[in-house]
């Protein structure tokens, strides 16, 4: 299985600021994804992080709010921009390793005051 490291694991931020979450995979993977998990809810896909090109966003998520980078096959970042309390969630990085198996990082718990 792949090992995925995410940081920060948690943060408390002020309204209007931005936070960048980093995701490092211990081996090359074909696909990387970013999910949001609001309190007590299931996972919602934000976007697919494409290596060397713009991310592919799901309905309801836009690049200006959630810019994503993926400079290589093992690393990606998600920025939550101009944060509001509604952005308080767990943000999870995941990676696909063949046969449809998705592996997850430990998540980043974001609280916006």
């Amino acid at each position: 299985s792949a090992v995925i490291s995410q940081k920060p694991s948690r943060d408390i931020c002020q309204r209007g600021t931005s936070l960048t979450i980093q995701c490092q995979v211990d081996s090359q993977v074909t696909m990387m994804f970013w999910y949001r998990q609001q309190p007590g809810q299931s996972l919602t896909l934000i976007a697919t992080a494409n290596q060397g090109s713009e991310a592919t966003y799901e309905s309801g998520f836009v690049i200006d709010k959630f810019p994503i980078s993926r400079p290589n096959l093992t690393f990606s970042t998600l920025t939550v921009s101009n944060m509001s309390p509604e952005d308080s969630s767990i943000y999870l990085c995941s990676a696909l390793r063949g046969h449809g198996e998705l592996f997850f990082g430990e998540g980043s718990r974001l609280t916006v005051l």
Partner: protein
């Protein structure tokens, strides 16, 4: 669009007993994969078990097994000899063949009591 339904928001079981978590899904496709993920309080999503739709044999991983009923579009998870460490949220997920995007159910919160 595919949907995944977990009808049990919460369940509890006594340690060492067996519990079954339900999951149904809706798809018109024949090539797909089904998964159960576990999310303990530590937040890490962990893959528990995986089933390919073309396989008739139910997947098994140690104390975890599934009952895959393709015609009924049902994919339940059985946990035998429940342990305290099994306490977690359990998510059923669907992946369309050729796609990379998992569709998750809303989850079932399982509590194993001593």
């Amino acid at each position: 669009a595919q949907t995944v339904t977990q009808s049990q928001p919460e369940m509890s079981v006594q340690e060492a007993e067996t519990v079954t978590l339900s999951c149904t899904y809706d798809t018109s496709e024949s090539n797909y994969y089904l998964f159960w993920y576990k999310q303990p309080p530590s937040r890490q999503m962990i893959l528990v078990i995986r089933q390919e739709a073309y396989k008739q044999q139910n997947a098994t991983e140690n104390r975890f097994s599934v009952n895959f009923q393709k015609a009924a579009k049902s994919f339940s998870l059985k946990i035998s000899d429940s342990q305290l460490g099994d306490t977690a949220m359990y998510f059923c997920a669907f992946l369309q063949g050729g796609s990379e995007k998992l569709v998750f159910g809303k989850g079932t919160k399982l509590t194993v009591n001593p």
